[in-house]
């Protein structure tokens, strides 16, 4: 086994709402929900979900993500992966719920679901209209409902409110969600109450990505190795899910 970053050339960079889509010159055979560790020397190395086998969607929020978002065609980025377990598509009619850059793996999933002939609905949310990401990509394979905190586009309010309504109006075989863990906990509670199967992609700070350092602990689960995608039912048994996570020192920190 070798897990060493390979330097891969950037083939294209494009802004799309709140994320910058980075296309690489190489494909990484991967499933929606799996991630890669992206490395920029001096800036760090962190997990990013695949948007397709050769694309990532980066929200520029800190040192590394801003560095990644400001790469240009021809620059190189270190990639190791794919890692983790992705989403498993089930049934005929699926509902995808994404908050912020959580929409990245869901856009990949929506394409796969469409290929399998499933009916795909997406609820996507962001603080404001300008930060809604990957809208046209989603719209090409799903019916899309937007929510913004400030009401600048779509429904004013949270994706969880839209989810509650959606589950009343129609039957879905499975719900798939990714976003801030606080949101995910609510999504999980809503789905379990309605008895709708639900898979969630959890977020934890990662170091090794290899299942040995223990940094990504979620009450005994390793998010990098056992996840990042889990069944909602399993995560709801975990007291820290959506509430606390480990900081880089290993100290429990409130989300």
């Amino acid at each position: 086994m070798i897990d060493f970053p390979r330097m891969v050339k950037v083939a294209g960079v494009k802004k799309d709402g709140g994320v910058v889509v980075l296309s690489l010159a190489e494909r990484f055979p991967s499933q929606p929900g799996q991630f890669a560790m992206l490395w920029l020397p001096e800036k760090g190395e962190k997990p990013y979900s695949f948007l397709s086998e050769n694309e990532f969607g980066i929200a520029p929020v800190g040192e590394l993500s801003r560095g990644l978002a400001s790469l240009r065609k021809g620059d190189a980025v270190g990639v190791r992966g794919p890692y983790g377990r992705g989403f498993v598509l089930k049934g005929k009619r699926v509902l995808l719920v994404g908050g912020g850059c959580g929409v990245v793996p869901l856009a990949f999933l929506a394409k796969e679901a469409k290929k399998k002939g499933m009916a795909v609905t997406v609820i996507t949310g962001a603080k404001t209209a300008a930060l809604l990401s990957l809208h046209s990509s989603l719209a090409s394979c799903a019916s899309v409902f937007c929510c913004t905190d400030d009401g600048t586009k779509g429904r004013k309010g949270f994706v969880t409110d839209a989810l509650k309504d959606a589950l009343v109006l129609k039957h879905y075989d499975c719900v798939y969600a990714c976003g801030p863990e606080k949101m995910l906990r609510l999504v999980a509670e809503i789905c379990v109450k309605k008895n709708v199967p639900c898979q969630l992609s959890a977020e934890r700070l990662m170091k090794c990505g290899l299942g040995i350092c223990g940094q990504c602990d979620l009450d005994g689960l390793l998010v990098c190795r056992d996840g990042p995608v889990f069944e909602a039912r399993d995560l709801l048994k975990k007291p820290s899910f959506g509430r606390t996570s480990l900081s880089a020192s290993g100290k429990e920190t409130v989300l």
Partner: protein, 303 residues
């Protein structure tokens, strides 16, 4: 009788496999997982005197024959771990508490606090190659290592004290002897081997700390040699660590002189159930080779 049962510094282990420090052991929940994976005992991630985030990523990569890491001793600090200690009380297998410091006084302070929590053993990490100010410097000089052991023994009460040694010096055996003379109850060998890997396309060392500690299959011969030599030099029991991923590896380490074996990188190669797999393989080998108990393996390769 359980053929794999061994005792180590007064603790009875259901089998000789021990989760090595720094692997998974950040939280009690992960230590529990190693227990469920079959470990005979578990070691906590090294606990330090104050909160420390460790080095920036990349902190760990896998090379063709081993892992290279420079986590940099992240720790919430000993005083911030109240809840973890409470959870650790629920463990069925013995818990070894690994500690580190930047001075003899740090070691004393952390050890005094930790001893009060009554772990099965305190392991002094004087051998981490991955920080500037902590770690292996204490393990380079026999007299310095002895000072740390003496200071800790003053405050450790009935909790046995083991010293984890670095292979990155020609004085490993002399350090082991000095620690024994200073009152150490056991030796743990080895910590990682100092190394580096460069990403040639990036023209940069791949780890942000540049250097790292090498572990996994590639370092087994180094660990076996250290344990073999230490066994000839000291009377106290040895926890043999380095490159163990199979039952045969564990048996080799015990024949070199180890009373129990630590497994770290093996968790990467074979998953958190590596302990059970290693034990199954040990049992089978022992059956086929006329060894009735794991105890009788210790030192079997010596004249």
């Amino acid at each position: 009788m359980n053929p794999l049962g061994v005792s180590f510094c007064g603790s009875r282990l259901r089998n000789p496999t021990v989760l090595a420090s720094g692997i998974l052991g950040v939280t009690a929940a992960q230590l529990k997982r190693a227990e469920e994976g079959g470990a005979g005992a578990v070691t906590t991630k090294s606990i330090g005197p104050e909160e420390r985030s460790g080095n920036r990523n990349p902190t760990c990569v896998a090379l063709p024959h081993g892992l290279l890491n420079a986590m940099g001793l992240p720790s919430p600090g000993y005083e911030a771990m109240g809840e973890e200690w409470r959870q650790l009380k629920k463990m069925k297998v013995p818990v070894f508490a690994s500690i580190y410091g930047a001075s003899v006084d740090d070691f004393r302070r952390v050890a005094a606090y930790v001893a009060d929590k009554k772990p099965a053993l305190i392991e002094l990490n004087i051998s981490c190659p991955n920080t500037a100010e902590h770690g292996q410097a204490f393990g380079f000089e026999p007299s310095v290592a002895a000072d740390v052991v003496e200071a800790v023994k003053e405050v450790s009460g009935r909790v046995p004290v083991s010293v984890k040694l670095t292979p990155n010096t020609h004085k490993t055996v002399a350090v082991a002897k000095a620690c024994e003379e200073a009152g150490a109850d056991a030796i743990c060998a080895i910590n990682t081997v100092s190394g580096m890997a460069i990403n040639i396309e990036a023209r940069k060392p791949v780890l942000s700390f540049k250097k790292g500690g090498y572990s996994g299959p590639a370092v087994k011969p180094i660990a076996v040699r250290c344990v073999y030599e230490i066994y000839e030099a000291v009377e106290i029991p040895i926890l043999g660590v380095g490159g163990i991923t199979t039952g045969r590896d564990a048996i080799e380490m015990m024949q070199a002189g180890a009373s129990a074996v630590g497994i770290g990188s093996g968790v990467y190669y074979r998953g958190p159930n590596v302990f059970r797999l290693v034990c199954d393989e040990m049992r089978e080998w022992m059956r086929g080779n006329g060894f009735a108990s794991a105890k009788s393996l210790t030192g079997a390769a010596h004249d």
